[in-house]
C-alpha cells in the first residue's frame, strides 16, 4: 500500500528534485542555458519569418499586371520626390558642414543604418517588444536606437547571434529625452502601461507650463537629440493632453503613439559609428 503511494508521488518528487537542482546550478550555467535556449529557438523563428516573406512574395506575384504598372508609377513618383529631398538634404548637409567648420564645431556623431526584418511581435501588459532578424552578426549593439518611416520604434535591449530584441517606445522601460516640434526645451518621455490590443500610449514629464494641447489640437513630440542616444527630430508621437503637476513647475501628459508600431514588418537600426582615431 505504502509502495503504491510512493509510486503515485514519484512525479512530484521528481519535479521537486529538478527544482532543487535548478536552484543549486551556478548562475553562469543558467545564463548559458538560457542563451542557448534562445539561440536554439532563434533559427526556428527566423525560418518562420523567411516563410512568411515567401508567402508575401507569392501573394504579390498573384497581383495583376495593371496593379504592378500602377505600383510602378507610384514608385517612380516616390523616387522622384525622394531624389528632390535627397538633393535638399545634401545641400543642408553641406551648409551645416560649412557652418560647423566656421564655428570649429566637432563633427556630429554618425550612425550606420541597418535594415532588419521583424521576426516576432510580443505585446503584453508587461512588455512591448519585437524580435528582429539581425544580431551581433551585423554589429548591432545593446541600446542602439531603432526607427522606421514613422519615427522611433525603440531601443535594442538584447543582442543575440542572429536576432535582437527591440523594446518598443510603448514599453515602460524606454525613456527618451524628447521635445516638442519647434521647441528646444527637453521633455522626458516614457512608455506607458499598455494593455494588449489597446492603442499604444506613452507619458511625458517636465513639459513646460506654457504648453497647451488638446486631443483636437495635438503637437508632435520628437526626439531632442540631447540625450545622446537618438538623433534629433525623429517622431515619437502626438502630445494630446497635458495637465499641471502638483508642484506647478511643469506639466505632465499623455502621448498617442503611431498605430503602425504594432504592425511593423521592417525596421532600421541606427548603429553608432565609431569615431576613427585622430591621426598623429
Amino acid at each position: 500500500m505504502s509502495a503504491k503511494r510512493f509510486d503515485q508521488a514519484h512525479p512530484f518528487l521528481t519535479l521537486a528534485l529538478v527544482f532543487a537542482a535548478w536552484l543549486v546550478v551556478p548562475t553562469a550555467v543558467k545564463r548559458v542555458l538560457r542563451a542557448g535556449f534562445f539561440e536554439m529557438q532563434a533559427p526556428v523563428e527566423a525560418s518562420a519569418s523567411y516563410i512568411r516573406d515567401l508567402q508575401e512574395f507569392w501573394s504579390l506575384k498573384t497581383r495583376s499586371k495593371n496593379d504592378l504598372i500602377e505600383a510602378g508609377r507610384d514608385l517612380i513618383h516616390l523616387n522622384a520626390a525622394y531624389e528632390v529631398r535627397l538633393q535638399q538634404d545634401a545641400d543642408l548637409r553641406a551648409q551645416l558642414e560649412r557652418l560647423g567648420r566656421l564655428l570649429n564645431l566637432p563633427a556630429p556623431e554618425g550612425y550606420r543604418a541597418e535594415a532588419a526584418r521583424v521576426v516576432r511581435r510580443d505585446f503584453s501588459g508587461w512588455w512591448q517588444q519585437l524580435v528582429i532578424r539581425k544580431g551581433s552578426n551585423y554589429g548591432l549593439t545593446v541600446g542602439a536606437p531603432v526607427i522606421y518611416a514613422g519615427g522611433v520604434v525603440g531601443r535594442i535591449r538584447e543582442v543575440h547571434a542572429y536576432t535582437s530584441v527591440v523594446e518598443l517606445i510603448s514599453s515602460p522601460g524606454v525613456r527618451i529625452a524628447a521635445c516638442l516640434e519647434g521647441d528646444t526645451r527637453p521633455i522626458s518621455y516614457q512608455g506607458g502601461i499598455n494593455p494588449t490590443l489597446s492603442p499604444a500610449r506613452g507619458e511625458v514629464e517636465y513639459v513646460p507650463v506654457d504648453v497647451f494641447v488638446s486631443p483636437s489640437a495635438p503637437r508632435r513630440l520628437v526626439t531632442s537629440g540631447l540625450g545622446g542616444v537618438f538623433p534629433g527630430g525623429l517622431t515619437i508621437g502626438s502630445l494630446t493632453n497635458v495637465e499641471p503637476s502638483s508642484d506647478g513647475l511643469f506639466k505632465s501628459g499623455g502621448v498617442q503613439l503611431d498605430a503602425d508600431l504594432s504592425d511593423l514588418s521592417e525596421v532600421t537600426v541606427l548603429v553608432p559609428e565609431e569615431t576613427p582615431p585622430a591621426a598623429n
Binding site: G173, R175, A177, R185, P186, S188, L226, V229, D247, L249
Partner: protein, 654 residues
C-alpha cells in the same frame, strides 16, 4: 485483614481512588500560573493592543515630507517678480542598494582575509568602504554620461546613510537642461540613479525691489499640515525654504506650499519596502499680487543708481494708498541667495550698507519738505496766508543764535507763504514756525502720523521716527525746549527723523486734504478709496500751500524739472517740495536731498518721495539730485496711464 494487608502492599500501585491532598496545591499553583498567563495575554491583547500597535507602527514605518513649491509673486499688472524654476539633481536612493552594499562588503572582507592583512578593519569600517565603493561606481557612471569628474565626499555619504537613509542622496546638483536630458535617456528606467527636481526661486525681471520682495533661505524643518498622518512616526524631511526678508517673510505663511510626502514601511534595517502605505502630493503655495508696478520700480532704481548716491524712492497711489514703487539702493542681488549666500557676498553687502531698506527703515531729517507741515500747522493755528509775510535779509536772530537762510541766494526780500514754499525761504519759516509754536507744529506732524510707523506689510519697519517736543527733550535729554529748537523744527532740521515712506504717505494725505494714508503692498482692484480725518484747512488755505508747491517746480527750488526741456513732463502738472538737510556723518557733514511731490495737481493720483544721501564735501540738493529721480518715475507713470491696462497673466513657474 488479609485484604487490608494486600491493599497496603498494593498501595504502591497507582490508584485513582480518592484525592491526595498534596496534589491540590499543585492544582492551585498551575491554575494560578495559567490565570496569570491568560490574564497577561488578555491584558496585552485586549487592553494594550493599541499601544503595541502604535509601537509596531513607529518601529516599522517612516514618514518622508516633501515641501510644496512657494507661491508666485506678481506685480500689479501680472508680471512675475518672483517665480519658481526647477533645479535638477541626479540622486541615488541608498535604500535600494542594500544588496549591492552587502555584496561589496563580502568582497572587501574576502580580499582582506586573502591578503592576510594584519590591520583588518572593523566591520563598520568595511561597511563604510563598501558603501563608498558602490556609490562611487554610480557616480562614475554619471560622470561618464555627463563628461564630468566629480568626487564623492565619504563623510557626507555616511552622514546621509546614518541620518537620512530614506531620502535621495544628491550626487550632482543644479544640472543644466542638456545634462538632465542626457541622464534621462541614458540611465535605465529602474536604476537607483534618478533625476530629482526641486523648486528654487527665480527672478524673471532681475533683482528689482530686492528689499521689498525679500529672499528665502533653506529650511530643514518643514512642517506638514495638521491633518497629515503619521505625526508620531520617525520623519525624514526634504529641505524647504523660509522667507527671511520683505514680502517673502511677511507673507511666508501664504506663500509656503502645502507639504506633501509619503509613509513607507521599512524592514528592521531601516530599508524601505515599496510601495508607500500612503502618499500625498505637495501643493503649490498661494500666489501674491503686489501693488508694485515693475516698470516704475525699474525706472526708479535706475534713476537712483544714476545719481551714484545711496537713497530711496517711494511712490503711492493717492486714492488707495497702494505702493507703486518701493526702491532702496544699494541693495543686494537676489540670485546670490540661491542656494545660499556665501561669505564674500555677505561681507560685500555688509560693507555697502545694503542690508538696510532705506525706504522703510532709513531715518532722515526731512529738511525743507517739512515746511508743508509747518505751513499747515501755522494756518490751522490761525495765521493768515495772505497777510503773513517776512522780509528775508538772509538771516535772523533767534535768541542769541543767528539762523541763516540757506536757500536761493539767501536774500528773498519780502516774501509770502506761497512764495516762501516755492523758494523754500528759511527766514520765513523760522518766523512762521515761531509764530505757530512748537507744540502746534508737533501736534500737526503727529496728526499726519509722522511720529509712528505706517504699518506697511513689511517686516522691520523702523519705529525710530521722531517728532520732538518739549516733553520729549526734557525726558530724553533733560534739557529745556528753546526757540531755536522751534526754528530748527520749522525747517525740518534738529531732532526730527522720518522715513521716505512716511513722507510719501504724507504727500498723498496732503494731496487728498486728509491726514493719514495707510500704505498697502498687496494689489486689490476692488480696494476702496481711503478717507481719513481731514486736515482742517480751508480750501483757500490748502490751495495756497499747493500753489507754493506748484511754484517750487515751476520757478522755485525744483525749477530744474521745468526749465530743462528734457526734464519736462508735458501734460502733467506737478506740486512738489524740495528739501536739503544737513547731518553729521562719521566722516563729516553731508547733505540729505529730498523731493516730495504729487501729480496731477488738479486730480492727484500719484505721490512720490525721494531721498538721497549725499557724500561728504559734495553739494547735494533736493531739486538738483532728488528731483530728477521723481521726474523719471512720474514720466514713466504718465506713459503707463496712457496705455491700456496689461492683462493679468499668471503662469506659475514661468
Amino acid at each position: 485483614m488479609a485484604n487490608q494487608g494486600s491493599e497496603r502492599v498494593g498501595g504502591l500501585v497507582e490508584t485513582h481512588k480518592g484525592y491526595n491532598p498534596r496534589i491540590l496545591f499543585f492544582y492551585f499553583f498551575i491554575a494560578a500560573i495559567l490565570l496569570t498567563l491568560g490574564g497577561g495575554l488578555a491584558y496585552r491583547q485586549l487592553f494594550s493592543n493599541d499601544r503595541y500597535h502604535e509601537a509596531e507602527k513607529k518601529q516599522n514605518q517612516r514618514r518622508i515630507l516633501v515641501p510644496g513649491p512657494r507661491g508666485i509673486i506678481f506685480d500689479r499688472t501680472g508680471r512675475v517678480l518672483v517665480g519658481n524654476r526647477p533645479r535638477f539633481a541626479v540622486t541615488l536612493y541608498l535604500d535600494q542598494l542594500r544588496q549591492d552594499f552587502r555584496a561589496e562588503y563580502i568582497k572587501i572582507r574576502k580580499a582582506y582575509r586573502e591578503a592576510d592583512d594584519k590591520n583588518l578593519p572593523t566591520i563598520d569600517q568595511m561597511q563604510r568602504i563598501a558603501r563608498f565603493t558602490v556609490v562611487r561606481r554610480y557616480l562614475d557612471q554619471v560622470n561618464q554620461v555627463l563628461g564630468r569628474h566629480e568626487e564623492l565626499d565619504s563623510d557626507e555619504l555616511n552622514k546621509h546613510f546614518r541620518q537620512q537613509l530614506l531620502l535621495p542622496y544628491i550626487l550632482l546638483d543644479d544640472l543644466k537642461a542638456e545634462e538632465y536630458a542626457r541622464l534621462i535617456e541614458r540611465l535605465p528606467v529602474n536604476s537607483p540613479l534618478q533625476v530629482y527636481t526641486s523648486s528654487i526661486r527665480s527672478y524673471p525681471l532681475g533683482s528689482i525691489a530686492a528689499h521689498t520682495l525679500g529672499y528665502v533661505t533653506g529650511n530643514d524643518d518643514i512642517e506638514p499640515s495638521d491633518n497629515f498622518p503619521g505625526a508620531d512616526l520617525t520623519t525624514f524631511k526634504m529641505k524647504g525654504t523660509v522667507g527671511r526678508e520683505g514680502i517673502e517673510s511677511k507673507f511666508d505663511a501664504d506663500l509656503q506650499g502645502e507639504t506633501g510626502g509619503a509613509i513607507y514601511r521599512v524592514d528592521p534595517s531601516g530599508y524601505r519596502v515599496n510601495p508607500p502605505l500612503s502618499k500625498r502630493q505637495p501643493v503649490h503655495g498661494h500666489d501674491l499680487h503686489t501693488s508694485l508696478d515693475a516698470e516704475l520700480q525699474i525706472v526708479a532704481e535706475k534713476a537712483i543708481v544714476e545719481t551714484e548716491l545711496n537713497g530711496a524712492a517711494v511712490a503711492l497711489d493717492i486714492r488707495t494708498g497702494e505702493v507703486l514703487v518701493l526702491a532702496s539702493k544699494p541693495d543686494y542681488n537676489l540670485e546670490d541667495f540661491i542656494p545660499r549666500l556665501n561669505h564674500d557676498k555677505a561681507k560685500q553687502i555688509n560693507d555697502q550698507g545694503a542690508w538696510l531698506n532705506r525706504a522703510v527703515s532709513g531715518i532722515y531729517p526731512p529738511g525743507s519738505t517739512f515746511k508743508i507741515v509747518t505751513s499747515s500747522a501755522g494756518l490751522l493755528a490761525g495765521l493768515d496766508a495772505d497777510k503773513f509775510s517776512v522780509d528775508c535779509t538772509g538771516s535772523i536772530m533767534v535768541g542769541a543764535r543767528r539762523f541763516t537762510c540757506e536757500n536761493g541766494h539767501g536774500i528773498h526780500g519780502v516774501i509770502s507763504l506761497t512764495e516762501a514754499i516755492a523758494e523754500s525761504c528759511d527766514s520765513f519759516f523760522y518766523q512762521f514756525g515761531l509764530a505757530t509754536g512748537a507744540e502746534k507744529i508737533s501736534a500737526t506732524a503727529d496728526r499726519f502720523h509722522l511720529d509712528r510707523p505706517t504699518g506697511i506689510d513689511l517686516p522691520y519697519e523702523t519705529k525710530s521716527m521722531l517728532i520732538p517736543d518739549a516733553a520729549w527733550k526734557k525726558s530724553r535729554r533733560d534739557e529745556a525746549w528753546f526757540p531755536g529748537d522751534t526754528a530748527n523744527m520749522s525747517i525740518g532740521q534738529g531732532f526730527i527723523g522720518v522715513t521716505p515712506l512716511q513722507m510719501a504717505c504724507f504727500a498723498a494725505s496732503f494731496a487728498r486734504g486728509e491726514t493719514v494714508t495707510k500704505p498697502y503692498l498687496l494689489h486689490d482692484p476692488e480696494r476702496p478709496a481711503q478717507h481719513t480725518e481731514p486736515i482742517g484747512l480751508t480750501p483757500a488755505q490748502h490751495a495756497a500751500i499747493v500753489q507754493g508747491m506748484v511754484g517750487c517746480v515751476d520757478h522755485g527750488t525744483a525749477k530744474i524739472l521745468t526749465t530743462i526741456p528734457s526734464m519736462r513732463i508735458p501734460g502733467l502738472t506737478l506740486a512738489g517740495k524740495t528739501g536739503t538737510a544737513q547731518v553729521h556723518g562719521k566722516d563729516g557733514n553731508l547733505n540729505i536731498a529730498w523731493f516730495i511731490c504729487f501729480a496731477p495737481v488738479e486730480n492727484p493720483k500719484i505721490a512720490v518721495a525721494v531721498v538721497l544721501e549725499g557724500n561728504v564735501g559734495e553739494e547735494t540738493g533736493g531739486g538738483r539730485n532728488a528731483g530728477p529721480v521723481a521726474q523719471a518715475i512720474l514720466k514713466k507713470w504718465q506713459d503707463t496711464q496712457s496705455r491700456p491696462p496689461a492683462p493679468v497673466i499668471t503662469i506659475p513657474g514661468k
